[in-house]
Symmetry: C2
Subunit: 479 residues, 2 copies
């Protein structure tokens, strides 16, 4: 029965015809975003922003449970301040939006609209840290950042995007390293528990790490087109920035030390991951836990006097059970509404019409697999609750199966190319030299996504040069 209950939405390009166009269609037609008149600056429409708010709620709770505090730093960075850390400025300078005039006067020191806030946090930390008693500092900021990108795509790469950036300072290396990995785990949990996305985690190679960091870790998601999407990162900085910014504290030993630093962030890019991982030719398909609307109630033959009251009583039942529910009583046809909420990816559709009322039943249609259930009214709320849990799990398992099906061990470039042609990750041994990493990128456009935490060798020699191998790497083409 499955697919029969889907109504074809002709407004959306089919994925196999043009995946990139399908993606843009979904972004716009599900009303997640709109373009503004400035290239790369998008409008986060209510439905898209509500998904981001669910992510914020989840993470704010986790951040606070782990002792983090929210702060807000200036939206601008003096050019001279950004230039203090050389690797950092080299990474960001080409993408800066620069303000040169304020109140009609030319500024002496131009102001960069923040692309990231390490330098601002460091300047502040230098003022408020003086003793080991002041540590750790565990600050987080929710804000937007601006990076003047040449090519932009909604949510995936924008001139402006929304994110959180954590910036922490610690007494010693061990504590900072623990923090770097703890936050990576919170991001992986976010994927599993809220987004129904299995993230691949691991460390970045030096070539791929963040400008100014000693080590970068990442969560990566695999898209249906076989390309990886870096979805969040955590960084360990050592004391590099602290030295440049003169952040010092008197330690328990009475001596002066530099604190060890981390930063970490996820952004509205996660919306891009959700769209691609779960969507289909009918549009968006949202995991229930992150869906702004978990169930939509559609009255059938709503002009009959018994229908609207029955639909509203279902709405009340679900509201009381704290399920995010919407009823659509507009004068559109049921068919139009079916198609609309499928496109918007609402996980459960509740249909109630005269025949259902007569029989004392409710019809439920599940977005992600098209299943249709008829349940007794007495079992309605319990069934919806159960389905929300079940659908969340099924969507995760489906994405996980796809991921496992797209990790292939390779030992030479021929096998590597086959995997790249098919899409997905090639797991391979690597000598550790950037020359080989560069060569793979030149030949295939693929990059080292992560050095997975499981470093069990699958061979002895580097897949590029044949020299002794040092690391297991997951390679893929990436967004």
């Amino acid at each position: 029965m499955a697919k029969d209950n889907h109504i074809k939405n002709e407004a959306i390009t089919r994925r196999e015809d043009d995946f990139a166009q399908w993606y843009t269609d979904v972004c716009r037609k599900a009303e997640l975003m709109d373009y503004s008149s400035v290239r790369g600056f998008i409008i986060y429409r209510p439905y898209g922003y509500a998904i981001w708010e669910e992510i914020q709620n989840y993470l704010n709770k986790k951040f606070k449970e782990t002792g983090h505090q929210n702060v807000y730093m200036p939206t601008v960075i003096p050019e001279s301040l950004l230039q203090k850390e050389k690797d950092h400025v080299a990474g960001f300078a080409p993408e800066c939006l620069v303000a040169t005039h304020g109140g009609g006067t030319k500024l002496e020191d131009p102001l960069i609209i923040r692309p990231t806030s390490e330098t601002l946090f460091c300047e502040h930390y230098a003022k408020i840290i003086s003793s080991y008693r002041d540590l750790p500092k565990l600050y987080n900021q929710w804000c937007s950042v601006v990076r003047w990108e040449k090519t932009t795509r909604p949510f995936l790469r924008g001139a402006e995007f929304l994110w959180q950036e954590g910036h922490t300072m610690h007494e010693n290396e061990e504590e900072a390293r623990t923090e770097t990995l703890k936050m990576l785990e919170i991001y992986a949990d976010l994927g599993r528990d809220l987004l129904a996305i299995p993230f691949t985690t691991g460390r970045k190679t030096d070539k791929e790490k963040f400008a100014g960091a000693l080590e970068t870790y990442a969560i990566e998601a695999l898209m249906p087109d076989g390309k990886a999407l870096q979805s969040g990162t955590t960084h360990y900085f050592g004391t590099g920035f602290a030295e440049v910014f003169n952040i010092r504290f008197q330690g328990r030993d009475g001596k002066v030390h530099h604190p060890h630093q981390t930063s970490w962030g996820v952004s509205t890019r996660l919306l891009g991951a959700i769209i691609m991982v779960h969507g289909d030719d009918n549009g968006l398909s949202l995991p229930p836990y992150v869906a702004p609307i978990q169930a939509v109630i559609i009255p059938i033959a709503q002009r009959k006097p018994e229908v609207i009251p029955a639909a509203r009583s279902l709405e009340t039942l679900l509201k009381n059970a704290e399920i995010r529910v919407k009823i659509d009583e507009s004068d559109k046809t049921p068919g139009w509404k079916f198609s609309e909420y499928e496109m918007k990816g609402v996980p459960l559709r509740i249909e109630i019409g005269p025949r259902d009322i007569e029989k004392g039943v409710v019809t439920i249609v599940i977005r992600h697999d098209g299943r249709k259930l008829t349940v007794k009214k007495e079992e309605f709320v319990a069934t919806v609750k159960m389905l929300i849990k079940q659908v969340q799990q099924e969507m995760y398992e489906k994405a996980h199966a796809f991921l496992l099906d797209h990790i292939t061990d390779v030992t030479n470039m021929e096998e590597f190319n086959e995997v790249m042609a098919k899409g997905g990750y090639a797991r391979a041994m690597w000598c550790g030299n950037q020359a080989c990493e560069d060569k793979i990128k030149d030949l295939t456009t693929a990059t080292a996504r992560v050095l997975p935490f499981n470093q069990m060798p699958i061979g002895d020699t580097c897949l590029v040069c044949g020299q002794p191998a040092k690391k297991v790497v997951l390679f893929a083409k990436a967004y």
Copy 2:
């Protein structure tokens, strides 16, 4: 007993010595904010930001209950877009921060860092509104805005501040006017229910209204130095922006109409109001409902083995009762801690030491009036809950009494000057001509704060020119 339990904090300037310096001292020493290296751009430190988060939580709930949706618009406005509405651009142009370079290239159309977002919302609304079925649009945005102010003060006037800006579109004038007043009422409720501040409400004169609005309404708070602080505004625009931005819809009558527009906002300026209305010479004093920490537990003689476990068990009791509690087990002295949390304005201080434990009691000290209570352990949680409610109400009533004591009816300029010398509002009759309003400002620096909703006349003639009076006005000096 009252004041004896306060420990003098010598680090804070006394209010009667220098009110402005007292304010700055509290902002910094209570760790609400810090300065950044760019003039007027402040850092919202965890304790200050947490107060803002309480305000956000309160308003987000009210906004959603009244059908509003959150969105996010670009952080930049093309200069050409800002210039579309002439009154609007005239109001904001002198304060603009302008970006002229992106990615190393000069921009053809410079970008203004948003000082307010009417133009962005209008541009978007023009694209998504075409029928009465699309109305109302009830959008709100949480963000920061930048206004290049010459003189700045923490929270009160900044080059950057945090706020929410609601922008709504309606089918007709009546609905838009209702919205304008409804949001003003939500702001007044926020004052009464969360901030313990009695706001004076009313309409602004044409001279004082928002750039581009037909009518502006405001909430005004009275500060202890007798000056008013405009704390939030709501605006009715009519169809002015809609005409300029070509926002049109097909109405129920089949004809094309322009929608009627509103906007409304409150900002982190509210933190300035809280600080001044409730603070005293010992520092900040927070109403319990908006306090990030409602009760602080201070162990006395904490090295004695029974003290810390007893203090932690009190903490658990309060946490379970969903009271925001903090325990300070640091190695500072109790006296230092008393002074610190007084300065930070924590409403309730819980002291527990060996003698309390022996007697089965807990000591509670109330921040705002210095009262000290000894309560039986069995009554501890119930007493704390009761006190939170009671203190909130007492703080509101105290502020309300101060306000009522500082509204004086005047009929001529002599009486007016007496009120301005003492501080507070002068309620007076006005002919409605801006010349008289200007004259008052020139002579006294006072401005018309609001035309109160209660327009019961208190005389027949304008206090300036003696001509027939048309309006009741509340005048005051203002921040």
